[in-house]
Symmetry: C2
Subunit: 441 residues, 2 copies
């Protein structure tokens, strides 16, 4: 890494970070977006990728092939002028369609008031659009373990098992945790039938089953990508096609004919369930030399649909800081860490929590009551009472603030509950006493 | 690593783990103890160390030069027949001697009932005794990054920054966290004077100062090793000898003449404060091929004096499992992980908590009351009411059980408190009413 000093030119009009050589490691969604941002600002950018160029590659097993794009990702795309292009082919999902164990469905809209929704986008398509905006296949550099390269700034966008982070972890004061969950996931497919979707397309489909669940997101080609999440133990107990079909008849009876028995058996047994992990660290930067973005900084379990969105928001935040007048790169990176780590830790925790909500709570009456209360209050006070899911998915409110908001709402609802209860008690007692007096007369 | 299979001979009489080649990485306290255990059981053991042999080395800056040996370490030493040799030169510490800001001292015995105590031992001496029991300087193998070696089992005793763990961290399902605290430490020295200790020798001396503290342990040569623990910010605010002396006059007035101004200034400014971190992971093993012991598995902040003791206890546990009849090595290592990780995580947390207790709570009245209650109950029910500190330091009760015990004791004391309060209230009311009646007459 070059030891070239980064100094403020302090002209007070423009960012005083001189145009440096930037090496972006990883040409995934966050890496290609970060590279595009740096390039648009006039930096010399080298984008490195150790996999094959996604534009010429077959789909890689084990990386979900569609994703839920929400507000944070949309704004980051808008900043590089790509939001419209992406949304034009994305499939809006207006709410959750819940499938119960008998195959009955019910709908919970994400936002009945302002009609905001998630967008199902293909990972490959999105990545291609981002790469095409700045890179030909030729300009993408291969990233190899023993290769040497020089850069003023290394931007680690190399995912949950980041090689850049692997170097930073040795630094004193670098806090880090990786936590695997005891559940794995496996992707299946509900194909199109007669060139039509086999289920309503504009929903995120969920089959909540307490300790495990299945979800499905619509694809452009009218298929659904289905993700089966459950404890590794449950996966390994399914040893034969017969076990598998019995399992699906018991738990996912309505999905079985859509998946198709033959295809299901093939898909299920051709690959092993994938691990899921949560990664937190702090700081995200090393002096003015390196910074981590996206999964490299904060991998999370996929249950809030915020992994990609949070990674793209990293870019928004980083460049809003770098664009400040008079800031030096070392200060900018420090400020990025300081203004980001609490929010990133918060969304990692929320994602972990949402797994419980999705597979279990969505079925419960208390959850539905709360959802109703939240929606009603949101309708009357749309700027004040933004429910947690909506603030996370449909605003760019800092994640930590979303949680603080929720706590404040919990407190109010609790107080209202007690007030109503006390009121009822007082009224009840008063009526009873009056009744007694009437009786006395 | 050799791929030789480890198979049970299943004779049902002896451990069925065949005698393998074992590579113990790290010849520190835990590594040399582990190597000794393996060697005594007839294994082929290679002990690797990347530092110079401690027997021929000068003291290494930044590793504390004396340590508090307690029950768990003692038992592990007894198992290899070395406890008596170590205790014969160790200095018993019967309690904490607290130094207040004015220089007044008070004593809190660890165990006024059964008179158990901690033993201050020199790291170098202890390590030498352990090495001499099995290894000449020649038989110790150098451990180099690029060297190749073969072994059936790798035992990682290579400390908080373990190279063995660095390989295991890449495995799916390996949970890991490293957490630095915002306090650093620096070692100072209170030398002997006229060949005598300058303070009472049989205590662990503590200068609690809320957000920071200083402690001192006695050495064989009648000096004390003093450890100054405080936020890095406070360290860095002390820029000149004048700052330093003012700081000591303000906070450690009684220690200043014992440390000696000139020596203090020299010791303080010659080295930087050291970082402290807590490391947790799970599992500790990889199949039948590798296992982590000591700091490599669970580094902790030094404030419970359990780092070495827990590491030595790892050896006791591992060999008690390996000694089971009919157990295979892969099962033994799995069992080691499963029966150890919760306790190791617990002592890491306790050590973090004890930093607060030592620097702050020891001064408080509530702490002293609790200590008095604990001691009194312990005196009357020595097998039932073992206070937390005593169960951790003077028994081999699993650390997690020690915490569960404490919670149970907290609950009882809380209930007693409420009962006494209610009793007092009832009695008071009764007396008041009787008084009223007397008044009526």
């Amino acid at each position: 890494m070059s030891e070239k000093l980064v100094q403020s030119t302090g002209n007070g009009l423009h960012s005083s970070i001189p145009k440096l050589n930037v090496a972006v490691i990883g040409a995934g969604l966050v890496g290609s977006l970060a590279a595009l941002n740096f390039a648009r600002k006039g930096y010399e950018v080298d984008l490195y990728e150790y996999r094959q160029d996604i534009r010429t590659a077959e789909l890689v097993q084990g990386r979900s092939i569609n994703l839920a794009l929400s507000q944070r990702g949309r704004e980051a795309l808008a900043e590089v002028g790509l939001e419209d292009e992406i949304l034009s082919t994305a499939i809006p999902m207006r709410g959750r369609m819940l499938h119960d164990i008998k195959g009955n469905t019910s709908i919970v809209l994400y936002d009945p008031c302002t009609k905001q929704c998630l967008y199902s986008v293909g990972r490959k398509h999105l990545n291609e659009v981002l790469l095409n905006a700045g890179y030909t296949s030729k300009s993408l550099k291969p990233f190899q373990e023993d290769a040497e390269a020089k850069a003023d700034l290394i931007v680690g966008c190399d995912g949950a098992f980041s090689a850049v982070r692997q170097q930073m972890i040795k630094n004193y004061g670098f806090n880090f945790s990786q936590e695997y969950i005891e559940h794995g996931y496996l992707e299946l497919c509900i194909p199109a039938k007669n060139n039509e979707f086999q289920m309503p397309a504009n929903y995120l489909h969920i089959w909540p089953r307490d300790t495990f669940m299945m979800i499905a997101l619509p694809n452009q080609d009218k298929s659904f990508t289905v993700t089966l999440s459950m404890p590794f133990k449950v996966f390994s107990d399914i040893k034969t096609p017969k076990d598998l079909l019995e399992f699906f008849i018991k738990y996912y009876v309505d999905a079985l004919p859509l998946l198709g028995e033959e295809r299901l058996i093939k898909d299920f047994f051709k690959s092993k369930p994938q691990y899921l992990l949560s990664i937190k660290c702090n700081p995200y930067h090393y002096k003015s030399k390196a910074v981590l973005l996206g999964d490299a900084a904060h991998a999370m379990v996929p249950y809030y649909g915020q992994g990609m969105n949070a990674g793209m928001e990293d870019c928004s935040l980083l460049f809003s800081i770098i664009n400040q007048t008079g800031i030096t790169l070392d200060k900018a990176l420090l400020q990025f860490t300081e203004s980001r780590w609490r929010d990133a830790h918060a969304i990692c925790d929320l994602a972990m929590y949402n797994y419980v909500e999705m597979r279990d709570l969505t079925k419960r009456v208390t959850f539905k009551c709360r959802k109703f209360l939240d929606t009603t209050l949101f309708r009357f006070f749309p700027t004040i009472w933004v429910p947690l899911y909506n603030s996370v998915s449909f605003t760019t409110m800092p994640y930590n603030k979303c949680i603080a908001n929720r706590k404040w709402q919990d407190k109010i609802l609790r107080n209202i509950f007690y007030a109503v209860l006390s009121g009822a008690l007082v009224t009840g007692t008063a009526l009873y006493v009056m009744n007694l007096q009437n009786f006395d007369r």
